[in-house]
């Protein structure tokens, strides 16, 4: 009975216009070329014009070079065509739109400025894998250095660079790990839309992120980022040119996430099909929207604080320099005003995806749907009031310690709701033990530890002991690796068949799960011990006291790497050799499973009309 929805892709759409034009030849490669050309021009010009006796000479050159790279990349890939076309009043025809959506262009469209939300989704998958891969390699470098006391693998200079770039890469990767691929690939289909609200902005948000990621990785080549990922001023004013690349990358990244957030919210609010009321929305759509809204609040602060750091370095302003009336605490405030909400921008989409998976895999409705939405919204709301708990030991406004302790610990209530919904959905369910289910249970196990260790740290007397130690590192790695990454992989395994038409290899996937799960426990439990013993973070070399716990942590880290490599192998082999899955492998009810696989351009030939939410498993017989 879904046949009315599965007419062949684009059968009834206007034929793609075969017009030539330079704009239609642009792709990733021309983007890179443009980036390098303009980067070089900017470098040469700034090199020539700025006064090389000034302290900020090298920073000015680096900054302008990175601006040149950005501009050139956007020009080269075609990001600036749209605005220019608008300016001169030559709007796209329907044929143009279909062309830029990649109609009948085969695989090459994955390397172009493509406006099709499904293409963007896949591009985000690759993007995330690259970032996680690079960041993971750096983590291995860090752990190899820390396998024993003393500096042997890399010296402290390289180490200091690695920890910061690893941190930033991973944060960026996890921000887009779930929201990137799935809020683009499946969210519009879940809403019954033919694409995102603003397809070109969608492509823009991806490719700006790509250009920023290039800069972030390039920091390693220009003296790296020896400041720690929180780039706490004023040491940032001592760092080399890598800091300029980093700041510029973050400025662009903030714009990218803002654009993506606007797109997500507008899509959900204005593109829903007939009958898709807000109370019938799949929970993942709600999660993505809440996270997007939170990101809209958070990332402007990131944008500003990195702009200020850039000015401090290039223009010798005094925002964070005491000699000119600046203050490192200002940077800490602005950074954490972004930094804490950002944690939930990362967490909420992963949790929402798990709600979705839990419901489908246990053949039950999401347990207390409204409470779940309330929990996510409450978490988002609270998270903007807790930033100073990252500053308990900085000495800034000790009198505010109490209030911030209160808001911070209140967070455990909405967090508890997540467990209520997840476990409540599974309870008495008929749990289908497929790959996504495994990673979901892994999430539950790890997220408990992450949450409870967080309660210790929110208590100021305890924080005075643990702040800045490996205990904190272990805590947020349980959040990011143990919880968010597990959620992201569950989502990947869950929607992978929709992208490729094939299952993610079950056997390899389970091997990967057990390796990663064991690895996470070994690595971060031992890291908790290092923290309890009193080992501070970001130490390139440490006392014999911490010898054994660090060795165990390194062993665990390599176990995680093994697990991740197996998963990567599974991803790549299954992509074209995996077992065929058909359009709806999990027999789910939400709309993305109603369309053929892979979904045609513009998803629906006929927009469906919705009469209930997608969770009515037990209520009406599922006719197949």
């Amino acid at each position: 009975m879904t046949t009315t929805l599965t007419s062949p892709a684009g059968a009834s759409l206007a034929p793609a216009s075969t017009g030539g034009g330079l704009a239609r030849k642009q792709n990733f490669l021309t983007g890179i070329i443009g980036g390098f050309v303009f980067g070089f021009i900017a470098w040469a010009l700034s090199h020539h014009f700025f006064d090389n006796t000034s302290r900020s000479y090298s920073d000015l050159v680096t900054t302008f070079t990175s601006i040149g790279w950005m501009f050139g990349f956007w020009l080269g890939i075609g990001a600036l065509n749209g605005p220019f076309a608008w300016l001169i009043g030559s709007d796209q025809t329907r044929a143009d739109q279909l062309y830029y959506a990649g109609e009948n262009q085969g695989k090459v469209r994955y390397w172009k400025y493509c406006t099709d939300h499904k293409v963007v989704g896949v591009q985000y998958i690759i993007m995330t894998m690259v970032l996680l891969g690079a960041g993971g390699l750096m983590a291995m470098g860090i752990r190899t250095e820390l396998v024993a006391p003393g500096t042997h693998f890399v010296n402290q200079q390289v180490y200091n660079g690695l920890i910061a770039v690893h941190g930033m890469l991973m944060i960026l990767a996890l921000i887009v790990a779930v929201a990137g691929p799935w809020a683009n690939f499946v969210l519009p289909i879940m809403c019954g839309a033919r694409d995102m609200a603003f397809p070109r902005l969608n492509a823009l948000s991806l490719w700006t992120l790509v250009s920023a990621a290039f800069l972030l990785l390039s920091t390693l080549a220009v003296g790296s980022l020896p400041v720690g990922w929180v780039v706490l001023a004023p040491i940032t004013n001592q760092a080399g040119p890598g800091m300029d690349f980093f700041a510029m990358a973050i400025v662009v990244f903030s714009v990218s996430t803002t654009v993506a957030g606007v797109n997500t919210i507008c899509t959900v609010m204005t593109m829903r099909t007939k009958g898709m009321t807000l109370s019938r929305l799949p929970i993942f759509v709600w999660g993505s929207m809440i996270a997007a809204a939170l990101g809209l609040y958070a990332f402007p602060y990131f944008f500003l604080v990195e702009t200020l750091q850039l000015l401090d370095r290039t223009e010798s302003t005094s925002f964070f320099s005491a000699a000119g009336g600046g203050e490192g605490w200002l940077q800490a405030n602005l950074f954490w005003l972004m930094g804490h909400p950002e944690v939930y921008v990362i967490l909420i989409p992963a949790v929402a995806a798990l709600f979705e998976i839990a419901s489908v895999m246990s053949r039950k409705p999401v347990f207390s749907y409204r409470t779940a939405i309330g929990g996510m919204a409450g978490l988002a709301g609270l998270s903007i009031l807790v930033w100073a708990h990252h500053m308990f030991t900085t000495g800034w406004a000790p009198t505010l310690g109490g209030p911030f302790m209160v808001t911070t610990e209140l967070i455990s209530i909405p967090t508890g709701v997540f467990f209520l919904v997840l476990v409540g959905t599974l309870w008495r369910g008929h749990i289908w033990m497929k790959l996504p289910t495994y990673w979901m249970f892994g999430f539950i196990a790890n997220f408990i530890i992450a949450g409870i260790t967080g309660i210790y740290l929110s208590d100021i007397p305890i924080d005075n002991e643990f702040h800045g130690t490996m205990f904190v590192t272990a805590h947020f790695h349980y959040v990011f690796v143990g919880s968010v990454l597990f959620g992201a992989i569950a989502a990947l395994a869950f929607w992978y068949p929709k992208v490729t038409g094939r299952y993610l290899d079950e056997k390899l996937g389970r091997i990967s799960f057990w390796l990663t799960f064991a690895g996470v426990q070994i690595t971060f439990m031992a890291m908790f011990v290092s923290g309890l013993k009193g080992m501070p973070r970001r130490y390139a070399s440490y006392s014999m006291l911490f010898e054994h716990s660090n060795f165990v942590t390194t062993v665990g880290a390599y176990t995680i790497m093994a697990g991740m490599l197996v998963l990567l192998g599974a991803l790549i082999t299954s992509w074209n050799k995996g077992e065929a899955s058909g359009p709806n492998p999990w027999h789910a009810n939400s709309l993305e499973w109603m369309v053929p696989t892979p979904p045609p351009l513009e998803n629906f030939d006929v927009l469906p009309v919705i009469t209930s939410d997608p969770y009515n498993y037990g209520e009406e017989k599922v006719n197949s």
């Binding site: 690259v130 470098g141 500096t151 200079q157 390289v158 040491i235 004013n237 992509w575």
Partner: protein
Amino acid sequence: MSRIRTLGVAAGSVLLGAALLTGVGVWLADASPHQTALKCQQVSSGVCSLNLSTFPDSLEGVHGANGGPHPDWVSYSNDNIDVPANTTVNVTIDQYDSGGSLNNAFFDRVMGTIGGTATIDGKTVSQVDPTNVGHTFTLRGIPGNGSSIFVSVPLPADGNSGTPVTIGGGSYAKPVVVQFSFKTGSKGVYEWNCEYPCGGSREGQFGEAMSTFGYMSGTLTVE
């Protein structure tokens, strides 16, 4: 399925690219040249001597041709030093650089040497003028690794003029000669660096040469 195969390959190759980029980055960041460690010359049983120099530039020492990427950065003649355990180390440092005020006057004292004194141009002192220091030699270890050690000797600024001497690529006025001795304990790796703000950046001038390995810092290995 050709599209999908290409995608898989693409993902793999892009990852490989990221790996390469990371590797290259690490290698570049690590490119600060590693010179062979300076051995402490045996003088008599239980006594050995070290000769170090500090320069206003990087033309001397191993920083690459013509001073490498930053010929104008200040530098020590060596970074890594090997000394035998339980030995008296006689250190002689030729200080060729100008100077100014310390960030923290704490470092104007001679600390941790035998007798708590050093000999500067033949004069025995335990403290120097904190507003006219060129560099310092400050050595410390990580408690718990080997025996704890702390040596800090200020090297006064070089006010000498007259016929310049030529060393390596540069020529400098007659140096200030600082001599001191300290006893090494059990085996272990210790860290030494300069505590005079000569890094030529903002916030305490501890950037650039001061925060780059192989210029104003190094390791002292007791073996």
